[in-house]
Assembly symmetry: C2
Homo-oligomer: 332 residues x 2
Protein backbone atom coordinates (compact mmCIF):
# COMPACT_ATOMS: atom_id res chain seq x y z
CA UNK A 1 0.00 0.00 0.00
CA UNK A 2 1.19 3.49 -0.87
CA UNK A 3 0.46 5.89 1.98
CA UNK A 4 -0.45 9.43 1.02
CA UNK A 5 -0.73 12.37 3.41
CA UNK A 6 -3.27 14.94 2.28
CA UNK A 7 -3.33 18.54 3.49
CA UNK A 8 -7.11 18.89 3.58
CA UNK A 9 -7.15 22.55 4.63
CA UNK A 10 -4.90 24.21 2.04
CA UNK A 11 -6.40 25.60 -1.17
CA UNK A 12 -8.97 28.09 -2.41
CA UNK A 13 -11.81 25.55 -2.08
CA UNK A 14 -10.52 23.61 0.93
CA UNK A 15 -11.46 21.41 2.62
CA UNK A 16 -14.48 20.37 0.52
CA UNK A 17 -12.76 19.77 -2.83
CA UNK A 18 -9.69 18.18 -1.21
CA UNK A 19 -11.84 15.67 0.66
CA UNK A 20 -13.89 14.85 -2.44
CA UNK A 21 -10.66 14.48 -4.41
CA UNK A 22 -9.33 12.08 -1.78
CA UNK A 23 -12.48 9.93 -1.87
CA UNK A 24 -12.31 9.90 -5.69
CA UNK A 25 -8.66 8.78 -5.52
CA UNK A 26 -9.55 5.92 -3.17
CA UNK A 27 -12.25 4.73 -5.60
CA UNK A 28 -9.93 4.90 -8.61
CA UNK A 29 -6.56 3.80 -7.22
CA UNK A 30 -6.63 0.44 -5.42
CA UNK A 31 -3.11 0.47 -3.93
CA UNK A 32 -3.31 3.66 -1.85
CA UNK A 33 -4.26 4.65 1.68
CA UNK A 34 -4.89 8.28 2.59
CA UNK A 35 -4.41 10.23 5.81
CA UNK A 36 -6.38 13.47 5.81
CA UNK A 37 -4.88 16.28 7.91
CA UNK A 38 -7.41 18.89 8.95
CA UNK A 39 -9.94 20.12 11.43
CA UNK A 40 -11.50 16.82 12.49
CA UNK A 41 -15.17 17.85 12.92
CA UNK A 42 -15.16 19.69 9.58
CA UNK A 43 -13.37 16.91 7.74
CA UNK A 44 -15.62 14.21 9.16
CA UNK A 45 -18.75 16.15 8.26
CA UNK A 46 -17.64 16.15 4.60
CA UNK A 47 -16.25 12.62 4.49
CA UNK A 48 -19.03 10.40 3.18
CA UNK A 49 -16.85 7.30 2.74
CA UNK A 50 -13.88 6.61 5.01
CA UNK A 51 -12.66 3.45 3.28
CA UNK A 52 -8.83 3.44 3.50
CA UNK A 53 -8.97 7.01 4.85
CA UNK A 54 -7.75 8.08 8.29
CA UNK A 55 -8.34 11.55 9.71
CA UNK A 56 -5.74 13.32 11.85
CA UNK A 57 -6.86 16.43 13.68
CA UNK A 58 -4.80 19.57 13.08
CA UNK A 59 -5.04 23.13 14.30
CA UNK A 60 -4.72 26.19 12.11
CA UNK A 61 -4.17 26.69 8.40
CA UNK A 62 -1.32 28.39 6.52
CA UNK A 63 -3.01 31.30 4.68
CA UNK A 64 -2.95 31.14 0.87
CA UNK A 65 -1.34 34.56 0.49
CA UNK A 66 1.23 33.98 3.24
CA UNK A 67 4.00 36.57 2.86
CA UNK A 68 6.41 35.09 5.36
CA UNK A 69 6.23 31.35 4.69
CA UNK A 70 9.17 30.31 6.86
CA UNK A 71 7.78 31.92 10.02
CA UNK A 72 4.31 30.66 9.14
CA UNK A 73 5.53 27.08 9.06
CA UNK A 74 7.72 27.44 12.14
CA UNK A 75 4.96 28.97 14.23
CA UNK A 76 2.19 26.65 12.99
CA UNK A 77 3.59 23.19 13.58
CA UNK A 78 0.09 21.88 14.22
CA UNK A 79 -1.28 23.23 10.95
CA UNK A 80 -2.55 20.74 8.39
CA UNK A 81 0.35 21.48 6.03
CA UNK A 82 3.07 21.16 8.67
CA UNK A 83 1.66 17.93 10.13
CA UNK A 84 1.22 16.33 6.70
CA UNK A 85 4.84 17.17 5.87
CA UNK A 86 6.05 15.82 9.20
CA UNK A 87 4.61 12.33 8.72
CA UNK A 88 6.47 12.06 5.43
CA UNK A 89 9.71 12.93 7.19
CA UNK A 90 9.00 10.27 9.81
CA UNK A 91 8.32 7.69 7.10
CA UNK A 92 4.72 7.15 8.23
CA UNK A 93 3.55 8.30 4.80
CA UNK A 94 5.25 8.03 1.41
CA UNK A 95 4.02 11.26 -0.12
CA UNK A 96 2.20 14.49 0.65
CA UNK A 97 -0.25 16.35 -1.58
CA UNK A 98 -1.21 19.94 -0.79
CA UNK A 99 -2.89 22.77 -2.66
CA UNK A 100 -1.84 25.24 0.02
CA UNK A 101 0.40 28.29 -0.41
CA UNK A 102 3.31 27.37 -2.72
CA UNK A 103 6.08 29.27 -0.93
CA UNK A 104 4.97 27.92 2.44
CA UNK A 105 4.93 24.38 1.07
CA UNK A 106 8.44 24.76 -0.35
CA UNK A 107 9.74 26.28 2.88
CA UNK A 108 7.89 23.70 4.97
CA UNK A 109 9.20 20.85 2.86
CA UNK A 110 12.76 22.09 3.37
CA UNK A 111 12.33 22.40 7.11
CA UNK A 112 10.13 19.40 7.83
CA UNK A 113 10.93 16.84 5.10
CA UNK A 114 14.52 17.79 4.33
CA UNK A 115 16.62 17.76 1.21
CA UNK A 116 17.89 14.69 -0.63
CA UNK A 117 21.58 14.43 0.18
CA UNK A 118 22.47 14.03 -3.49
CA UNK A 119 20.74 17.22 -4.61
CA UNK A 120 22.05 20.61 -3.54
CA UNK A 121 18.97 22.59 -4.59
CA UNK A 122 15.30 21.76 -4.79
CA UNK A 123 13.17 22.77 -7.78
CA UNK A 124 9.49 23.07 -8.46
CA UNK A 125 8.34 21.50 -11.68
CA UNK A 126 4.82 22.11 -12.98
CA UNK A 127 3.48 20.55 -16.16
CA UNK A 128 2.32 22.78 -18.98
CA UNK A 129 0.12 21.63 -21.88
CA UNK A 130 1.28 21.40 -25.49
CA UNK A 131 -0.70 21.81 -28.71
CA UNK A 132 0.04 18.12 -29.34
CA UNK A 133 -2.04 17.13 -26.33
CA UNK A 134 1.01 16.13 -24.27
CA UNK A 135 2.59 17.94 -21.33
CA UNK A 136 5.96 19.58 -20.83
CA UNK A 137 7.83 19.66 -17.53
CA UNK A 138 8.90 23.22 -16.76
CA UNK A 139 11.54 23.78 -14.10
CA UNK A 140 12.68 25.41 -11.87
CA UNK A 141 9.43 27.36 -11.67
CA UNK A 142 10.15 29.10 -8.43
CA UNK A 143 12.86 27.74 -6.28
CA UNK A 144 16.30 29.16 -6.75
CA UNK A 145 17.07 32.58 -8.08
CA UNK A 146 20.84 32.17 -8.13
CA UNK A 147 21.98 28.71 -9.12
CA UNK A 148 25.14 26.88 -10.25
CA UNK A 149 25.19 24.96 -13.54
CA UNK A 150 25.96 21.74 -11.64
CA UNK A 151 22.79 22.07 -9.57
CA UNK A 152 20.80 22.56 -12.75
CA UNK A 153 22.30 19.29 -13.98
CA UNK A 154 20.97 17.51 -10.87
CA UNK A 155 17.55 18.97 -11.53
CA UNK A 156 17.76 17.92 -15.17
CA UNK A 157 18.47 14.33 -14.12
CA UNK A 158 15.48 14.42 -11.80
CA UNK A 159 13.23 15.68 -14.60
CA UNK A 160 14.65 13.08 -16.98
CA UNK A 161 13.85 10.24 -14.60
CA UNK A 162 10.44 11.73 -13.76
CA UNK A 163 9.52 12.03 -17.44
CA UNK A 164 10.56 8.44 -18.00
CA UNK A 165 9.06 6.83 -14.91
CA UNK A 166 5.96 8.92 -14.28
CA UNK A 167 5.01 10.21 -17.73
CA UNK A 168 6.10 7.07 -19.57
CA UNK A 169 8.34 8.82 -22.11
CA UNK A 170 10.92 6.34 -23.41
CA UNK A 171 13.70 8.84 -24.13
CA UNK A 172 12.77 12.24 -22.70
CA UNK A 173 14.25 15.24 -24.52
CA UNK A 174 15.38 18.31 -22.62
CA UNK A 175 15.76 21.90 -23.86
CA UNK A 176 17.31 24.98 -22.26
CA UNK A 177 15.01 28.04 -22.22
CA UNK A 178 16.90 30.79 -24.01
CA UNK A 179 16.53 33.95 -26.10
CA UNK A 180 17.92 32.31 -29.25
CA UNK A 181 18.46 28.79 -30.52
CA UNK A 182 22.17 29.05 -31.39
CA UNK A 183 24.83 27.78 -28.99
CA UNK A 184 26.43 30.70 -27.16
CA UNK A 185 23.14 32.59 -26.66
CA UNK A 186 22.08 33.92 -23.29
CA UNK A 187 23.82 34.74 -20.04
CA UNK A 188 27.00 33.15 -18.70
CA UNK A 189 24.84 30.67 -16.78
CA UNK A 190 23.03 29.58 -19.94
CA UNK A 191 26.24 29.17 -21.86
CA UNK A 192 27.82 27.04 -19.13
CA UNK A 193 24.73 24.89 -18.72
CA UNK A 194 24.56 24.46 -22.49
CA UNK A 195 28.10 23.03 -22.58
CA UNK A 196 27.49 20.79 -19.59
CA UNK A 197 24.24 19.37 -21.00
CA UNK A 198 25.75 18.92 -24.44
CA UNK A 199 28.51 16.71 -23.04
CA UNK A 200 26.24 14.78 -20.71
CA UNK A 201 25.63 11.11 -21.48
CA UNK A 202 22.30 10.65 -19.69
CA UNK A 203 20.36 13.62 -21.03
CA UNK A 204 18.95 13.88 -24.55
CA UNK A 205 19.74 17.56 -24.96
CA UNK A 206 18.03 19.31 -27.88
CA UNK A 207 19.81 22.63 -27.28
CA UNK A 208 18.30 26.05 -26.67
CA UNK A 209 14.55 26.48 -27.01
CA UNK A 210 12.98 29.92 -27.42
CA UNK A 211 9.74 30.43 -25.48
CA UNK A 212 7.97 31.33 -28.70
CA UNK A 213 7.66 27.54 -28.89
CA UNK A 214 6.58 27.20 -25.26
CA UNK A 215 3.34 25.35 -26.07
CA UNK A 216 4.88 23.33 -28.90
CA UNK A 217 8.48 22.71 -27.83
CA UNK A 218 10.81 20.21 -29.50
CA UNK A 219 11.29 18.50 -26.13
CA UNK A 220 9.55 17.06 -23.05
CA UNK A 221 11.42 19.11 -20.45
CA UNK A 222 12.13 22.86 -20.45
CA UNK A 223 14.72 23.97 -17.93
CA UNK A 224 16.02 27.30 -16.67
CA UNK A 225 16.93 28.95 -13.38
CA UNK A 226 14.22 29.62 -10.78
CA UNK A 227 13.75 33.25 -11.81
CA UNK A 228 13.47 32.72 -15.56
CA UNK A 229 11.30 29.58 -15.48
CA UNK A 230 8.97 31.29 -13.00
CA UNK A 231 8.70 34.25 -15.38
CA UNK A 232 7.90 31.84 -18.24
CA UNK A 233 5.25 30.03 -16.20
CA UNK A 234 3.58 33.26 -15.11
CA UNK A 235 3.73 34.72 -18.62
CA UNK A 236 2.01 31.62 -20.03
CA UNK A 237 -0.62 31.97 -17.30
CA UNK A 238 -1.06 35.71 -17.89
CA UNK A 239 -1.26 35.38 -21.65
CA UNK A 240 -3.79 32.55 -21.43
CA UNK A 241 -5.89 34.57 -18.97
CA UNK A 242 -5.70 37.71 -21.13
CA UNK A 243 -6.49 35.88 -24.34
CA UNK A 244 -9.47 34.23 -22.67
CA UNK A 245 -10.86 37.68 -21.82
CA UNK A 246 -10.18 39.08 -25.28
CA UNK A 247 -11.78 36.04 -26.88
CA UNK A 248 -14.92 36.50 -24.81
CA UNK A 249 -15.07 40.20 -25.72
CA UNK A 250 -14.63 39.52 -29.43
CA UNK A 251 -16.76 36.38 -29.77
CA UNK A 252 -19.86 37.99 -28.31
CA UNK A 253 -19.95 40.76 -30.91
CA UNK A 254 -22.97 40.92 -33.24
CA UNK A 255 -26.00 38.65 -33.51
CA UNK A 256 -24.28 35.96 -35.58
CA UNK A 257 -21.28 36.12 -33.29
CA UNK A 258 -23.50 35.57 -30.24
CA UNK A 259 -25.17 32.59 -31.91
CA UNK A 260 -21.75 31.21 -32.85
CA UNK A 261 -20.63 31.67 -29.27
CA UNK A 262 -23.62 29.72 -27.92
CA UNK A 263 -22.94 26.86 -30.34
CA UNK A 264 -19.25 26.91 -29.42
CA UNK A 265 -19.73 26.95 -25.65
CA UNK A 266 -19.12 23.22 -25.14
CA UNK A 267 -15.99 23.34 -27.22
CA UNK A 268 -14.78 26.52 -25.53
CA UNK A 269 -15.19 24.82 -22.19
CA UNK A 270 -13.12 21.88 -23.39
CA UNK A 271 -10.54 24.35 -24.71
CA UNK A 272 -10.37 26.07 -21.35
CA UNK A 273 -9.93 22.79 -19.53
CA UNK A 274 -7.00 21.91 -21.79
CA UNK A 275 -5.22 24.99 -20.56
CA UNK A 276 -6.12 24.44 -16.96
CA UNK A 277 -3.36 23.17 -14.72
CA UNK A 278 -6.28 21.61 -12.88
CA UNK A 279 -6.63 18.85 -15.44
CA UNK A 280 -2.96 18.12 -15.63
CA UNK A 281 -2.18 17.54 -12.00
CA UNK A 282 0.28 19.08 -9.63
CA UNK A 283 3.79 20.42 -9.61
CA UNK A 284 6.31 18.13 -7.99
CA UNK A 285 8.97 19.60 -5.73
CA UNK A 286 12.24 17.94 -6.77
CA UNK A 287 15.10 17.27 -4.40
CA UNK A 288 13.35 16.35 -1.15
CA UNK A 289 13.65 13.23 1.00
CA UNK A 290 10.01 12.55 0.36
CA UNK A 291 7.46 12.98 -2.40
CA UNK A 292 5.83 16.41 -2.21
CA UNK A 293 3.22 17.34 -4.81
CA UNK A 294 1.77 20.83 -4.99
CA UNK A 295 -1.71 20.79 -6.50
CA UNK A 296 -3.02 24.11 -7.87
CA UNK A 297 -4.38 26.49 -5.26
CA UNK A 298 -7.65 26.65 -7.22
CA UNK A 299 -7.94 22.83 -7.39
CA UNK A 300 -11.38 21.31 -7.42
CA UNK A 301 -11.94 17.61 -6.68
CA UNK A 302 -10.70 16.28 -10.04
CA UNK A 303 -7.58 18.44 -10.02
CA UNK A 304 -6.76 17.39 -6.51
CA UNK A 305 -7.40 13.74 -7.36
CA UNK A 306 -4.92 14.14 -10.24
CA UNK A 307 -2.31 15.38 -7.77
CA UNK A 308 -2.87 12.30 -5.60
CA UNK A 309 -2.69 10.00 -8.62
CA UNK A 310 0.59 11.62 -9.64
CA UNK A 311 2.03 11.17 -6.13
CA UNK A 312 1.04 7.50 -6.21
CA UNK A 313 2.80 6.93 -9.55
CA UNK A 314 5.94 8.63 -8.26
CA UNK A 315 5.98 6.33 -5.21
CA UNK A 316 5.05 3.19 -7.15
CA UNK A 317 7.94 3.75 -9.59
CA UNK A 318 10.40 4.60 -6.84
CA UNK A 319 11.49 7.85 -8.48
CA UNK A 320 13.44 9.22 -5.51
CA UNK A 321 15.67 6.14 -5.20
CA UNK A 322 16.33 6.13 -8.94
CA UNK A 323 17.27 9.82 -8.96
CA UNK A 324 19.58 9.40 -5.99
CA UNK A 325 21.32 6.43 -7.61
CA UNK A 326 21.94 8.36 -10.85
CA UNK A 327 23.21 11.55 -9.20
CA UNK A 328 25.44 9.69 -6.77
CA UNK A 329 26.90 7.63 -9.58
CA UNK A 330 27.58 10.67 -11.77
CA UNK A 331 29.16 12.74 -9.02
CA UNK A 332 30.98 10.13 -6.98
CA UNK B 1 8.52 67.84 -43.63
CA UNK B 2 9.56 64.74 -41.70
CA UNK B 3 11.93 62.64 -43.78
CA UNK B 4 11.66 58.91 -43.35
CA UNK B 5 14.11 56.34 -44.72
CA UNK B 6 12.47 53.02 -45.51
CA UNK B 7 14.36 49.75 -45.85
CA UNK B 8 12.27 48.34 -48.68
CA UNK B 9 14.07 44.99 -48.89
CA UNK B 10 13.94 43.71 -45.30
CA UNK B 11 11.02 41.56 -44.13
CA UNK B 12 9.26 38.29 -44.93
CA UNK B 13 7.10 39.93 -47.61
CA UNK B 14 9.58 42.53 -48.86
CA UNK B 15 9.67 44.56 -50.96
CA UNK B 16 5.98 44.41 -52.02
CA UNK B 17 4.36 45.06 -48.64
CA UNK B 18 6.95 47.65 -47.60
CA UNK B 19 6.35 49.66 -50.78
CA UNK B 20 2.58 49.45 -50.41
CA UNK B 21 2.93 50.47 -46.77
CA UNK B 22 5.01 53.46 -47.79
CA UNK B 23 2.46 54.59 -50.39
CA UNK B 24 -0.30 54.17 -47.80
CA UNK B 25 1.67 56.30 -45.34
CA UNK B 26 2.11 59.06 -47.92
CA UNK B 27 -1.67 59.10 -48.54
CA UNK B 28 -2.50 59.22 -44.83
CA UNK B 29 0.24 61.40 -43.35
CA UNK B 30 0.60 64.82 -45.01
CA UNK B 31 3.84 65.99 -43.37
CA UNK B 32 6.18 63.17 -44.41
CA UNK B 33 8.53 62.42 -47.28
CA UNK B 34 9.86 58.92 -47.85
CA UNK B 35 13.11 57.62 -49.33
CA UNK B 36 12.86 53.97 -50.33
CA UNK B 37 16.13 52.01 -50.19
CA UNK B 38 16.13 48.92 -52.40
CA UNK B 39 16.83 47.36 -55.72
CA UNK B 40 15.76 50.19 -58.04
CA UNK B 41 14.20 48.20 -60.92
CA UNK B 42 12.22 46.02 -58.49
CA UNK B 43 11.12 48.94 -56.33
CA UNK B 44 10.08 51.05 -59.32
CA UNK B 45 8.07 48.19 -60.81
CA UNK B 46 5.99 48.04 -57.60
CA UNK B 47 5.74 51.77 -56.96
CA UNK B 48 2.47 52.93 -58.51
CA UNK B 49 2.55 56.43 -57.01
CA UNK B 50 5.83 58.22 -56.36
CA UNK B 51 4.35 61.36 -54.76
CA UNK B 52 6.82 62.50 -52.05
CA UNK B 53 8.76 59.24 -52.54
CA UNK B 54 12.38 59.02 -53.72
CA UNK B 55 14.06 55.72 -54.59
CA UNK B 56 17.73 55.07 -53.79
CA UNK B 57 19.31 52.04 -55.39
CA UNK B 58 20.99 49.57 -53.02
CA UNK B 59 22.76 46.27 -53.50
CA UNK B 60 22.18 43.18 -51.41
CA UNK B 61 19.85 42.40 -48.53
CA UNK B 62 20.61 41.36 -44.94
CA UNK B 63 19.05 37.88 -44.62
CA UNK B 64 16.17 37.55 -42.13
CA UNK B 65 17.81 34.70 -40.22
CA UNK B 66 21.24 36.35 -40.16
CA UNK B 67 23.34 34.62 -37.48
CA UNK B 68 26.25 37.05 -37.50
CA UNK B 69 24.58 40.46 -37.70
CA UNK B 70 27.67 42.57 -37.05
CA UNK B 71 29.67 41.06 -39.92
CA UNK B 72 26.59 41.14 -42.11
CA UNK B 73 26.24 44.90 -41.65
CA UNK B 74 29.99 45.57 -41.95
CA UNK B 75 30.33 43.61 -45.17
CA UNK B 76 27.09 44.84 -46.75
CA UNK B 77 27.40 48.60 -46.57
CA UNK B 78 25.42 48.93 -49.79
CA UNK B 79 22.53 46.83 -48.50
CA UNK B 80 19.13 48.50 -48.14
CA UNK B 81 19.30 48.34 -44.34
CA UNK B 82 22.82 49.75 -44.06
CA UNK B 83 22.16 52.59 -46.48
CA UNK B 84 18.87 53.54 -44.83
CA UNK B 85 20.64 53.68 -41.46
CA UNK B 86 23.50 55.74 -42.90
CA UNK B 87 21.29 58.59 -44.15
CA UNK B 88 19.85 58.95 -40.66
CA UNK B 89 23.36 59.27 -39.25
CA UNK B 90 24.15 61.94 -41.85
CA UNK B 91 20.98 63.84 -40.96
CA UNK B 92 19.53 63.48 -44.46
CA UNK B 93 16.58 61.61 -42.96
CA UNK B 94 14.97 61.91 -39.52
CA UNK B 95 13.99 58.28 -39.00
CA UNK B 96 14.40 54.81 -40.43
CA UNK B 97 11.78 52.06 -40.55
CA UNK B 98 12.81 48.47 -41.30
CA UNK B 99 11.20 45.06 -40.95
CA UNK B 100 14.55 43.37 -41.57
CA UNK B 101 16.42 41.04 -39.19
CA UNK B 102 16.16 42.46 -35.65
CA UNK B 103 19.68 41.67 -34.48
CA UNK B 104 21.18 43.09 -37.67
CA UNK B 105 19.12 46.25 -37.28
CA UNK B 106 20.26 46.71 -33.68
CA UNK B 107 23.90 46.06 -34.60
CA UNK B 108 23.63 48.24 -37.70
CA UNK B 109 22.02 51.05 -35.73
CA UNK B 110 24.88 50.97 -33.23
CA UNK B 111 27.53 51.03 -35.93
CA UNK B 112 25.91 53.35 -38.46
CA UNK B 113 23.60 55.64 -36.44
CA UNK B 114 25.46 55.67 -33.13
CA UNK B 115 24.35 55.88 -29.55
CA UNK B 116 22.88 58.94 -27.80
CA UNK B 117 25.62 60.33 -25.61
CA UNK B 118 23.29 60.48 -22.60
CA UNK B 119 22.31 56.80 -22.73
CA UNK B 120 24.83 54.10 -22.00
CA UNK B 121 22.76 51.22 -23.37
CA UNK B 122 20.17 50.94 -26.10
CA UNK B 123 16.96 48.97 -25.62
CA UNK B 124 14.32 47.57 -27.91
CA UNK B 125 10.77 48.32 -26.89
CA UNK B 126 7.85 46.58 -28.59
CA UNK B 127 4.21 47.26 -27.73
CA UNK B 128 2.03 44.46 -26.47
CA UNK B 129 -1.78 44.55 -26.38
CA UNK B 130 -3.85 44.63 -23.20
CA UNK B 131 -7.34 43.27 -22.53
CA UNK B 132 -8.41 46.89 -22.06
CA UNK B 133 -7.69 47.65 -25.71
CA UNK B 134 -4.59 49.72 -24.90
CA UNK B 135 -0.93 48.83 -25.39
CA UNK B 136 1.93 48.29 -22.97
CA UNK B 137 5.56 49.17 -23.71
CA UNK B 138 7.77 46.18 -22.93
CA UNK B 139 11.50 46.74 -22.61
CA UNK B 140 14.32 45.80 -23.00
CA UNK B 141 13.08 43.06 -25.30
CA UNK B 142 16.42 42.02 -26.63
CA UNK B 143 19.29 44.36 -26.21
CA UNK B 144 21.37 43.91 -23.13
CA UNK B 145 21.79 40.72 -21.23
CA UNK B 146 23.91 42.14 -18.43
CA UNK B 147 22.90 45.63 -17.38
CA UNK B 148 23.43 48.10 -14.54
CA UNK B 149 20.46 49.53 -12.61
CA UNK B 150 21.44 53.05 -13.68
CA UNK B 151 21.19 52.13 -17.36
CA UNK B 152 17.74 50.69 -16.73
CA UNK B 153 16.80 54.05 -15.24
CA UNK B 154 17.84 55.79 -18.49
CA UNK B 155 15.71 53.34 -20.44
CA UNK B 156 12.80 53.92 -18.06
CA UNK B 157 13.01 57.68 -18.68
CA UNK B 158 12.96 57.05 -22.41
CA UNK B 159 9.87 54.84 -22.11
CA UNK B 160 8.22 57.40 -19.84
CA UNK B 161 8.72 60.19 -22.37
CA UNK B 162 7.73 57.92 -25.27
CA UNK B 163 4.50 56.90 -23.53
CA UNK B 164 3.70 60.53 -22.87
CA UNK B 165 4.67 62.05 -26.22
CA UNK B 166 3.86 59.24 -28.66
CA UNK B 167 1.07 57.31 -26.94
CA UNK B 168 -0.52 60.37 -25.35
CA UNK B 169 -0.61 59.01 -21.80
CA UNK B 170 -0.72 61.91 -19.35
CA UNK B 171 1.10 60.22 -16.46
CA UNK B 172 2.57 56.93 -17.64
CA UNK B 173 2.94 54.26 -14.96
CA UNK B 174 5.90 51.89 -14.93
CA UNK B 175 6.21 48.43 -13.36
CA UNK B 176 9.20 46.14 -12.85
CA UNK B 177 8.71 42.60 -14.17
CA UNK B 178 9.27 40.28 -11.24
CA UNK B 179 8.37 36.90 -9.74
CA UNK B 180 6.39 38.43 -6.88
CA UNK B 181 4.76 41.75 -6.10
CA UNK B 182 6.42 42.42 -2.73
CA UNK B 183 9.46 44.70 -2.46
CA UNK B 184 12.61 42.62 -2.09
CA UNK B 185 11.52 39.97 -4.61
CA UNK B 186 13.81 38.82 -7.40
CA UNK B 187 17.49 38.98 -8.13
CA UNK B 188 19.97 41.56 -6.83
CA UNK B 189 19.42 43.58 -10.02
CA UNK B 190 15.66 43.68 -9.47
CA UNK B 191 16.04 44.72 -5.85
CA UNK B 192 18.42 47.55 -6.73
CA UNK B 193 16.28 48.77 -9.60
CA UNK B 194 13.23 48.67 -7.33
CA UNK B 195 14.88 50.99 -4.82
CA UNK B 196 16.13 53.34 -7.52
CA UNK B 197 12.72 53.59 -9.21
CA UNK B 198 10.94 54.01 -5.89
CA UNK B 199 13.03 57.06 -5.04
CA UNK B 200 12.88 58.57 -8.51
CA UNK B 201 10.90 61.77 -8.96
CA UNK B 202 10.12 61.53 -12.67
CA UNK B 203 8.78 57.98 -12.86
CA UNK B 204 5.36 56.88 -11.58
CA UNK B 205 6.56 53.54 -10.25
CA UNK B 206 3.83 51.01 -9.39
CA UNK B 207 6.28 48.43 -8.01
CA UNK B 208 6.80 44.82 -9.09
CA UNK B 209 4.40 43.31 -11.61
CA UNK B 210 4.13 39.56 -12.07
CA UNK B 211 3.78 38.43 -15.69
CA UNK B 212 0.55 36.65 -14.81
CA UNK B 213 -0.84 40.15 -15.42
CA UNK B 214 1.13 40.65 -18.63
CA UNK B 215 -1.95 41.38 -20.77
CA UNK B 216 -3.70 43.37 -18.04
CA UNK B 217 -0.92 45.11 -16.13
CA UNK B 218 -1.47 47.92 -13.63
CA UNK B 219 0.87 50.11 -15.70
CA UNK B 220 1.72 51.40 -19.17
CA UNK B 221 5.37 50.31 -19.20
CA UNK B 222 6.84 46.96 -18.16
CA UNK B 223 10.59 46.95 -17.72
CA UNK B 224 13.26 44.31 -17.13
CA UNK B 225 16.73 43.43 -18.38
CA UNK B 226 17.25 42.37 -22.01
CA UNK B 227 17.20 38.66 -21.21
CA UNK B 228 14.07 38.59 -19.06
CA UNK B 229 11.95 40.98 -21.14
CA UNK B 230 12.89 39.03 -24.27
CA UNK B 231 11.76 35.83 -22.54
CA UNK B 232 8.47 37.52 -21.59
CA UNK B 233 7.90 38.77 -25.15
CA UNK B 234 8.62 35.37 -26.68
CA UNK B 235 6.48 33.56 -24.10
CA UNK B 236 3.53 35.84 -24.87
CA UNK B 237 4.09 35.13 -28.57
CA UNK B 238 4.43 31.38 -28.03
CA UNK B 239 1.40 31.13 -25.77
CA UNK B 240 -0.75 33.13 -28.19
CA UNK B 241 0.40 30.94 -31.08
CA UNK B 242 -0.21 27.74 -29.13
CA UNK B 243 -3.61 28.84 -27.85
CA UNK B 244 -4.61 29.78 -31.41
CA UNK B 245 -3.84 26.22 -32.54
CA UNK B 246 -5.63 24.62 -29.58
CA UNK B 247 -8.65 26.85 -30.12
CA UNK B 248 -8.87 25.80 -33.75
CA UNK B 249 -8.59 22.12 -32.78
CA UNK B 250 -11.29 22.41 -30.12
CA UNK B 251 -13.73 24.74 -31.88
CA UNK B 252 -14.04 22.53 -34.94
CA UNK B 253 -15.27 19.52 -32.94
CA UNK B 254 -18.77 18.19 -33.65
CA UNK B 255 -21.46 19.47 -36.02
CA UNK B 256 -22.72 22.23 -33.72
CA UNK B 257 -19.14 23.21 -32.98
CA UNK B 258 -18.38 23.52 -36.70
CA UNK B 259 -21.48 25.66 -37.24
CA UNK B 260 -20.53 27.81 -34.26
CA UNK B 261 -17.04 28.17 -35.70
CA UNK B 262 -18.39 29.35 -39.06
CA UNK B 263 -20.59 31.93 -37.34
CA UNK B 264 -17.67 33.05 -35.21
CA UNK B 265 -15.12 33.38 -38.00
CA UNK B 266 -15.43 37.15 -38.39
CA UNK B 267 -15.06 37.66 -34.67
CA UNK B 268 -12.16 35.22 -34.45
CA UNK B 269 -10.39 37.15 -37.18
CA UNK B 270 -10.86 40.38 -35.24
CA UNK B 271 -9.60 38.59 -32.13
CA UNK B 272 -6.49 37.43 -33.97
CA UNK B 273 -5.79 40.91 -35.26
CA UNK B 274 -5.95 42.29 -31.73
CA UNK B 275 -3.10 40.02 -30.78
CA UNK B 276 -1.10 40.74 -33.87
CA UNK B 277 1.93 42.99 -33.44
CA UNK B 278 1.09 43.88 -37.02
CA UNK B 279 -1.79 46.06 -36.00
CA UNK B 280 0.08 47.79 -33.24
CA UNK B 281 3.13 49.01 -35.09
CA UNK B 282 6.80 48.56 -34.57
CA UNK B 283 9.29 48.33 -31.78
CA UNK B 284 11.39 51.42 -31.25
CA UNK B 285 15.09 51.07 -30.52
CA UNK B 286 15.78 53.44 -27.63
CA UNK B 287 19.10 55.19 -27.11
CA UNK B 288 20.23 56.01 -30.65
CA UNK B 289 21.15 59.34 -32.23
CA UNK B 290 18.29 58.85 -34.67
CA UNK B 291 14.82 57.35 -34.71
CA UNK B 292 14.96 53.66 -35.60
CA UNK B 293 11.72 51.69 -35.73
CA UNK B 294 11.70 47.93 -36.23
CA UNK B 295 8.46 46.77 -37.85
CA UNK B 296 7.58 43.08 -37.48
CA UNK B 297 9.40 40.75 -39.86
CA UNK B 298 6.03 39.41 -41.02
CA UNK B 299 4.64 42.92 -41.62
CA UNK B 300 2.15 43.40 -44.41
CA UNK B 301 1.33 46.84 -45.82
CA UNK B 302 -0.83 48.01 -42.89
CA UNK B 303 1.67 46.85 -40.27
CA UNK B 304 4.50 48.57 -42.07
CA UNK B 305 2.44 51.72 -42.49
CA UNK B 306 1.87 51.70 -38.73
CA UNK B 307 5.64 51.57 -38.22
CA UNK B 308 6.07 54.62 -40.46
CA UNK B 309 3.26 56.46 -38.68
CA UNK B 310 4.91 55.73 -35.34
CA UNK B 311 8.27 57.02 -36.60
CA UNK B 312 6.58 60.21 -37.79
CA UNK B 313 4.96 60.83 -34.39
CA UNK B 314 8.31 60.28 -32.63
CA UNK B 315 9.95 62.87 -34.90
CA UNK B 316 7.06 65.33 -34.76
CA UNK B 317 7.13 65.31 -30.96
CA UNK B 318 10.90 65.56 -30.76
CA UNK B 319 11.23 62.58 -28.45
CA UNK B 320 15.02 62.23 -28.72
CA UNK B 321 15.72 65.82 -27.67
CA UNK B 322 13.30 65.53 -24.75
CA UNK B 323 14.88 62.29 -23.53
CA UNK B 324 18.39 63.73 -23.78
CA UNK B 325 17.37 66.81 -21.83
CA UNK B 326 15.86 64.75 -19.01
CA UNK B 327 18.75 62.31 -18.69
CA UNK B 328 21.38 65.03 -18.86
CA UNK B 329 19.59 67.03 -16.21
CA UNK B 330 19.21 64.06 -13.86
CA UNK B 331 22.79 62.89 -14.20
CA UNK B 332 24.68 66.15 -14.52
Amino acid sequence: MIKIAVDAMGGDYAPKEQIEGAMLAIRKIPDIEITLFGDEPTVKSLLTNDERITVVHTEGVIAMGEKDPISAIRSNRKSSMAMALTVVRKGDCDAVVSSGATQALIAGAHILVGRLKAMKRTAIAPLIPTVRGTNTILLDAGGNIEIKPEYMLHQAYFAHIYAHEVMGIAEPKIGLVNIGTEAGKGRDLDQEVYKMFEQDKILNFVGNVEPKDVLDPPCDILISDGFTANIVMKTVEGTAKGIGKMLKQELSRGILGKLGLVLSLGNLKRFKSRLSAEEIGGAMIYGLRGVVVKAQGASKAVGFYNGIRQAAVICRNDVLAKVTAVIEKEFE
